[in-house]
Symmetry: C2
Subunit: 213 residues, 2 copies
Amino acid sequence: MTTPARSRQRGPYARSAERREAIAAAVLEIVVEKGHRGVTTAEVAERAGAREPTVLYHFPSKDHLLVAALRRSDEEQAEADDGGDSDAGLPERLRAFADSVTRRAGVLRLYAALAGEATTPGHPAQEYFAQRYAATVARHARMIERRQEAGLAPPGLDPVQVARQFLATWDGLQLQWLADPSFDLGEVLVAAFRRLTGEDRREARASLTETES
Amino acid sequence: MTTPARSRQRGPYARSAERREAIAAAVLEIVVEKGHRGVTTAEVAERAGAREPTVLYHFPSKDHLLVAALRRSDEEQAEADDGGDSDAGLPERLRAFADSVTRRAGVLRLYAALAGEATTPGHPAQEYFAQRYAATVARHARMIERRQEAGLAPPGLDPVQVARQFLATWDGLQLQWLADPSFDLGEVLVAAFRRLTGEDRREARASLTETES
């Protein structure tokens, strides 16, 4: 199977996908500007250049609209963090990432609110979060494996367990930061990453060796 | 000032406090049985032996009722974990605690849902979570300091930073576990605690010393 050329995709399916994209972008825009409690179908329709029934046809409830905004935000972040599988300067990249998300507190609040609600079986965001956790844990585990192979992380670590712990720290620190932004989210996050992956030891050993030599 | 004898407290204030306690206990009971989405003022009133207007007088909204259930659950856990400031067998106690909370998934879901919603300014649970995070970080920081004094944790750690990281791991792992309970929450939590506090190194060094001697 070959990927069809872009011009051949513009049938009804492509138009529908474009409309969904425009709606998701409109929701995300409102979340960033006003927070997720300010999202109304009427304003989404207006910003996306669609009619309200069209919005409701694609996304039957406000929760479905909000999940679409989160997916859109994930895609934007993945694009911004392109080359994110290269491991050079990882702590610096983590730090820059933390700094960038704290400038979008509306998206963090939406993520936190839906992550909590989605733990109730049957919630429209349940599948999104189950998939997101699984994909994020798998991605982090591969990253830790590569760092083990490169001698940057200790060989004895369980990559999946550490990946879970790191994702958890990230989600939990966001909650604390939103409740009280008096601490440096990026700094605490990077320090947790170093400790959980054992990389702070390697640095301690390296600086010890330097001192000794 | 002396603490008044219990019999002297039974004025209108004490009766009001008792009524609030009975209502909070009824809400928690429903959360454990049916989940927080199943909480109705009518059933709370019936279980607490009160009239609905009385319930609404003490707790003006469903969110206020749910916060009362979380506070009640915190108190029960604090009582069950009495002697929690002693540090003997801490990993085992953590593990037992994780096992006990996973038997009350309804309470975990309520905690996760309100923690997320409470990040939106003005939410009735905002103050509860801000206080809870601050108190938990302070308590964990003191525990880490004591472990440093006892030579169980490395002296170079920043107790407040590690306390934040540990609380975050705990909150985040609950979210992952509720989305997919296929991993052992207690095991991953205890391993994170050991890594974040550097206690796994101490054990590694100790076993190295044993091997060498």
